[in-house]
């Protein structure tokens, strides 16, 4: 079912608000992973503010969809979504990077409500997401819901998992061997409730990802590992939500899913885009923040 133009526009507006929340965090210490956060922000918006099962009032809800931010240095995007959803008040954005703040420099499960995985060491998130997906299947096998005592009736569970497991990967991260260990694992155990999203912004810290260590042909690699693959423009909201829907519809096909989202590092802020900024600091950072604020600052 095609989504209305109104919903897409609404999500685009929300994405701009999330960008704005990110700027607030970047201002705290004039520092942050601006490039990767701007490239993933539309994907995070589509997931958190539209697609996943998530209750801001009950973030530990056992049937919530799990989101593993494997490129956890871009946790500013998730924090922005949590603020937008009301899990945290807007003032918390100003505590980013601070001692004992729930908004730590890398996503941390015990510091932040609504975070499923403590990431930061690249390459591990897909294994965790695969483990969560495996656990969903195992729970259904070992503890099938009794008649009448479950949130989701049995007949629905035939067509949908109790929860889905999403994993947001960076493109540079795909150079880690463990990603492909996890890809084999997910394929072996037919984890069709697992959806990986590669934020393919083409740049990592040392330069263009495919110069640093070529990951191409990326689509063929995932396919060779037995995954369903869908390529999209990661800044086109309609394409993002359609791809997520497609992955839901394909549940039951025994294949894990990979959405390769072509994105732009530092998207939407010209000086960050031209610098392919990874970690921004000082004036470079603030110049971008001023430009971004002028562009997105008045979005309500």
């Amino acid at each position: 079912m095609a989504h209305s133009e109104q919903l897409i526009q609404d999500l685009e507006r929300k994405a701009d608000r999330l960008r704005n929340h990110c700027f607030t965090q970047f201002c705290t210490f004039e520092q942050g992973h601006a490039g990767g956060t701007m490239s993933v922000i539309d994907i995070v918006t589509a997931l958190y503010l539209h697609h996943i099962k998530f209750d801001p009032k009950n973030v530990d809800w056992p049937d919530r969809d799990r989101v593993v931010m494997s490129k956890a240095h871009c946790c500013e995007a998730i924090y922005s979504a949590l603020v937008e959803l009301g899990v945290y008040p807007e003032e918390t954005l100003g505590t980013y990077y601070c001692y004992q703040s729930p908004f730590q420099g890398h996503a941390d499960r015990w510091s932040t409500a609504g975070i499923d995985y403590s990431g930061g060491s690249l390459g591990q998130g897909l294994s965790f997401a695969a483990g969560l997906a495996y656990a969903e299947k195992l729970k259904m096998l070992l503890e099938p819901p009794a008649r009448g005592d479950t949130f989701l009736p049995r007949y629905i569970l035939r067509y949908a998992p109790r929860y889905r497991s999403y994993c947001i990967l960076g493109d540079g991260e795909c150079q880690e061997g463990q990603i492909w260990e996890a890809a084999m694992f997910a394929s072996k155990f037919k984890l069709d409730n697992l959806i990986a999203i590669v934020d393919y912004n083409k740049w990592s810290l040392d330069g263009p990802t495919n110069d640093v260590m070529p990951i191409e042909p990326l689509v063929d690699k995932w396919k060779a590992f037995g995954w369903y693959v869908k390529e999209i423009d990661g800044h086109d909201m309609r394409q993002i939500v359609d791809a997520l829907d497609m992955c839901d519809r394909l549940y039951g096909d025994n294949r894990p899913k990979c959405i390769i989202a072509h994105t732009v590092k530092g998207f939407g802020v010209s000086n960050w885009e031209s610098l392919h900024m990874h970690l921004g600091r000082g004036e470079e950072m603030m110049k971008g923040v001023r430009e971004g604020r002028a562009k997105y600052g008045d979005v309500q």
Partner: protein
Amino acid sequence: MATFNKHIQIGGPVAFGKGIEKGMIAAAKANPKILAVLEDMGFPGIEWWTTTVPERMVECGISEQNGAVVAAALASEGFVPCINSFLFADIGRAFNQVRQSVCVDRFNVKFIGREGAWGEVGISHNTIEGLGCSRVLPNLVILNPADAVEAEKATVAMMQYIGPVLLRQESSPNPQTIFTDDYPFDIGKAYPVKEGTDATIIATGYMLTEAVRAVELFEKIGLDVAVLNMCTLKPLDEEAIIRAAEVTGAIVTAENASIIGGLGEGVAAVLAENLPTPMVRVGVEDEFSQSGLITSEGDELKAHFGFAAEDLVVAVQDCIAKKERLQARS
């Protein structure tokens, strides 16, 4: 005839694996949440698992980094996964995974890691650095049982404990049976095997067998040496270590591991801060192990590393000499 403490009865040699297998099956029968996470290295009681609860086995193949993180995720969903492999693989190869994905969030993941200086398999597999590299990890409990009875009890205790635990299964000759079946095992508690006044041997793992054998030798030369079994290497039983130093004033540590980062260093740190005491550390000096055989002619690696009861006697005599020099000075 030496008098050992309660719950000590020296018997014939039994493999560590036998105890771990018994403990694992008992624990897994009692708790249906326990899962076997395999890394192509078998699992304690594998026949029972494959015939009785195959659905509770997760075979990850030779991909220890993935295995550790998958186990963390399973633990986050309420399961109690246990990984079994060589320690250099399930902890060493996956060190950062264990650190970041297991210990940071204190997930309830259990590791059984085979390690020690002995074996025919050579330098790659006879590893000795596992204690040093794992003792630095916050939240990780480390157990290193001394015989099959303790291995069984430690396995059960590990599976009941909530939080990450590493159980080190030593590569060594089979240890003698030392503990009785009603031996009260407690995580974090050292057990006094024998009392004494001249010196204390604090032993862990297989080296307790050599320490117990040394007791007879001490009697012959008129020394009264205490033996303390340190199964839990983290957290160390500081109280027991300090008490031993108070009573005997000379401490010899014995471990089938590198003396860097293991039991010896742990004990030394406790004593340096609380009650500086003369010490000798028996273990692998700063070197790698290699292949070695145990034949009727002898045990090549035991001789190479100086791990025999006779070597412990020399170490204890050294330590007592240090103590006496210190007493003479003051």
